[in-house]
Symmetry: C2
């Protein structure tokens, strides 16, 4: 079990690097959100929806983490927002060192930096990158048992966005039970119910993000 | 990047252990399928559907891989089929050593051993466990871009089961394009379109599994 025996020192050195990233982001006055979800939960669609509602008032950067390819950063650039693509190649998560390597490309001050992690509910939760907070996206077709099966992410996430609520009539997802499962891991989690497809539910979510942005000014 | 520098030797030692597991399974004449998918793609539901259609004719064992908990193996046991739960704690995938540790609990001969890996499209594809083949489950709400974003799994999977086809009218999933994306990584992949919820599409899939089982006799 080689991987497990080295995990602790790797995480400690990662945490030091995350603190240095944090200082960089603080100097720019940026709010940094680490967005974590399963593949296909709708991370990029949620980011696009936020951008459309915020880009006229705030400078936004998106950092995209993917094993390969740049299809997500291409989607972001179509909205005329800056995007940096990181390809992790074999790694199933972003870590603080990968973020540090792209910081020299962050040339201007951004109000909001949205980091889209690799689609995975496990390791991305373990590696801090210098974020203000973690935001988990849980989509209704995945089922409400995910907070119990992947407890660390839901324990750590300050915000949980339940996405694809437009599919609720067609899937077996008990919203009340899912929220209870989330609160069991994290009694203070803020939960927003949205549909990136229809736009429903983004009002309170955007209001919260604006409140967080105002604290940085 | 400590993790990457040790990845190769870890994989080599894993492969040796996988070969030893393979010999164990061969002695029992078992067909072993390593089932890999995102969280919530419906791996357990697909396994339940297979069990219902096969358990009267074949001896089946399910090995469940989860970070924590035993909710999936509890579901399997309800169908009166043997199940062994592995909790990976921090690891985002099963490896050959975790499988080797539970082999002493495999006391009888099974025709079919279904291994449900941890919900993750990245690392489970990298670690052989001694399987006959990998089976990927891709659910329609995840979107058809997943084969391009997680190419290794779709390159290696002999079988791809497209699940939740009952949701096709409600989600943006182009079946033709998705199959093209799969075939681009793996021209010989067998693709089955199913709905574990309605039972649609299981005929050809079960026929294929029975054919593979007949080769072991």
């Amino acid at each position: 079990m080689k991987k497990i025996s080295i995990l602790k020192p790797v995480l400690v050195s990662n945490q030091e690097r995350a603190r240095a990233n944090r200082k960089f982001f603080d100097r720019g006055g940026s709010l940094v959100i680490n967005i974590i979800a399963s593949p296909g939960a709708g991370k990029t669609s949620v980011i696009e929806s936020l951008i459309r509602r915020l880009k006229s008032d705030y400078k936004i950067l998106v950092i995209e983490g993917d094993i390969r390819g740049s299809s997500d950063s291409a989607r972001i650039k179509k909205l005329r927002v800056d995007a940096i693509q990181i390809n992790t190649v074999t790694a199933c998560h972003l870590d603080a060192f990968m973020i540090a390597r792209v910081l020299p490309r962050v040339k201007r001050k951004y109000d909001l930096i949205l980091v889209e992690n690799v689609g995975n509910l496990v390791c991305p939760a373990e590696f801090e990158i210098g974020e203000d907070f973690k935001l988990a996206v849980l989509s209704t077709p995945e089922g409400g048992d995910k907070p119990a099966k992947y407890p660390l992410l839901f324990h750590l996430a300050r915000v949980v966005v339940i996405n694809k609520c437009d599919l609720l009539p067609h899937v077996d997802f008990n919203l009340t039970r899912a929220k209870k499962e989330i609160r069991k891991r994290n009694s203070r989690a803020l939960i927003f119910e949205v549909s990136a497809k229809t736009g429903a539910g983004f009002g309170p979510f955007v209001k919260f993000i604006k409140l967080e942005l105002s604290k940085k000014r």
